[in-house]
Symmetry: C2
Subunit: 391 residues, 2 copies
């Protein structure tokens, strides 16, 4: 029997493929499958995005190796975008482009922590962040989020858990899986706690673009010395509907970018280049289109709220920019089993709370923004007509 | 002062950008720059390759998430290709697609070894493999290659260094940096040693396509039970001239592919999709074009041999499928200094032996296949006219 690294061997297989396998077993009797599993907006990219992707990919300008930190045009366009979103002064040296946000996370984590170090995460957590840390031999400690406050992290628990030597705190806002949007004042308090303890705050804002328009998500990028305590992560996948092109970004100090470039050089030299060039055009040009999508996803959230008010037993425990976190009606039955049956019997594909942390058996994650409002309204009949076989 | 992971902080900055900076300081007085640093064939991709890349990138078929292990069409096309090259039976379940060969290496290494484990490499080594292991806290032990045998690895040294618990041996053939092509019989002996010791052989064959046509590179993929001892790595970058699209591949047992998929899911979910679809077309279709390139690179090697026979003091210590390893005429001066001056004064950009291991100060790596034969012949005048300032 061949011997593998036990930190990898003990990991469960990636969860999304098993969930998609449940979906395949659905026989269609309740109508078309409603896939609320992996976060993928159910509309296509803008036609100009596709055109620019095609133009760049067929050009010899991007077939060679590129800069490790990313194409200058995209770093610059993204720095300008971040500056506008946060009302902060962010420049090209603050940006590192990666192949998606999972890669942004592992690059940042490796730059900050090694095997045996301790990192804090919330419970529930985004499962790939937890498996990333575990496979690197980094010790993970969890701070609870309070279901009764819509799953905001418990600031007292963070204060108690932080201690010298804790290398980083990983947060996701808007949150995956709960959808919770962390208020700026809460993020400020958490940032202050981290800074006072010499702990890096690594903030994944993949779902930022689906926040209701208006105020900045937080003011941390305008704090004096933020560079020594904060790293922000982002994904272009959701907002531009191009996860298959694998692009994400890191906003951090030039010193952090320098460390991350060393990691990235070993991970894959540089992110794929032609899609970077296309995105550099899209980032300023498709602002209105993205604002329209934001409004559309707001309508989808409203539709889900309506549904959940009419499905006794199913409780909308939290909802936010992309995800809803729903308590299912079977307190003694694991979310894994409920989600499997929901997929196979009712054609509703979602992720079990189980996948996202300890004590999450009572919950399901709905990536509601995948489906349009009409489709979401169909959940009412399917959920009300659903019962677990033999229960 | 912010605190970083010391395993990352202690790494030198990625070497290629510093070498390219030397090149920028060249004033052009000796004629156009001759860039023999990063391995990039100096001809463009085939026009059909560009067309297929553009078509796939502008299609909605590849904007969503894809299978972690890679697109089925590419896994299948590559399995067929490998079967043909090695005369072996390789199927789609044996293939995992990655974002380039550095990512193939780190995924395989993480699946096999963790912090504190021991891995063997040759000296000299491909620097990204060494930094990858170091940044993961994996202990590296070096087995020497003999300059007098054209830098083949010392089989006795491997036999002596292997012992229970050594997790893997990393080999590169055709070699980077020396160019050495390891004969099938030598690879067979090394494989047998590894298998008897329970050590994985991880064989990077990025430059395989530039071998003179004919026999298979080795027979290991036809050995009974190879799956429990061997992992082969490959890059599409060099052979198809598309490093900017970042694609590589792993050939291994389904059990290894399953472990690597867990790592890849955390590294970046999946390799970029549209270029995979384009490559699936190119792999069978561009066989003749690639054979032509192989012959062209053979002519370039001949040109370099001619040059090196006429440049007293400079010694061609090894030459192979893509690289040549050259002893410079300054025994008391480090290769870093010689390479810097060669770039700045003579407009010849190459990599210092220093970057590739211990005791390599006397050598330079020439990626001769980057330049056409006429350009290579110009090295004669430049090398003979070169002297270190103040020496």
């Amino acid at each position: 029997m061949p011997h593998f690294n036990p930190l990898i061997a003990r990991l469960s297989p990636p969860p999304i493929p098993s969930v998609l396998a449940w979906a395949k077993a659905y026989d269609g009797t309740r109508g078309p499958l409603i896939d609320l599993s992996q976060a993928v907006p159910g509309y296509p990219p803008h036609p100009d995005m596709l055109k620019w992707l095609g133009e760049a990919a067929s050009s010899t300008a991007y077939t060679g190796y590129g800069a490790i930190e990313g194409e200058a045009v995209l770093r610059s366009a993204y720095a300008e975008h971040v500056s506008k979103v946060y009302g902060a002064k962010i420049s090209v040296e603050n940006i590192h482009i990666t192949s998606g946000c999972n890669q942004a996370f592992i690059s940042a984590a490796m730059a900050l922590a090694g095997s045996g170090d301790t990192v804090l995460m919330t419970n529930p957590f985004y499962f790939n962040q937890e498996t990333t840390l575990s496979m690197l031999g980094i010790k993970v400690e969890l701070v609870p989020c309070d279901p009764s406050s819509g799953f905001l992290p418990d600031i007292e628990a963070i204060a108690q858990t932080l201690r010298p030597g804790v290398r980083m705190l990983a947060l996701v806002s808007p949150n995956n899986p709960t959808g919770a949007v962390y208020p700026p004042a809460l993020l400020q308090k958490i940032f202050d706690l981290c800074r006072n303890n010499g702990t890096w705050l690594v903030l994944d804002e993949t779902y930022r673009d689906f926040l209701a328009a208006g105020d900045a998500p937080h003011g941390l990028l305008s704090e004096d010395g933020w560079q020594d305590s904060l790293i922000c992560l982002y994904s272009f996948s959701k907002s531009f509907c191009i996860p298959g092109h694998r692009l994400g970004a890191i906003t951090a100090s030039p010193a952090v970018v320098e460390q991350i470039a060393k990691v990235m050089d070993n991970l894959q030299i540089c992110a794929p280049r032609s899609a970077q060039a296309a995105l550099a055009k899209a980032l300023p040009a498709l602002d209105d289109w993205r604002a329209g999508n934001r409004a559309e996803i707001g309508r989808r959230a409203d539709a889900l709220r309506q549904v959940m008010a009419r499905t006794p037993g199913w409780k909308l425990q939290a909802i936010g920019a992309y995800f809803a976190y729903i308590r299912h009606p079977y307190p003694d039955i694991g979310s894994d089993f409920v989600a499997e049956k929901l997929a196979k019997i009712a054609g509703i594909v979602c992720l079990p709370g189980d996948y996202f942390g300890e004590g999450q058996e009572g919950y399901l994650r709905f990536a509601f923004a995948n489906a349009d409002a009409d489709t979401i309204l169909k959940l009412e009949e399917r959920l009300n007509g659903f019962s677990l076989p033999g229960i």
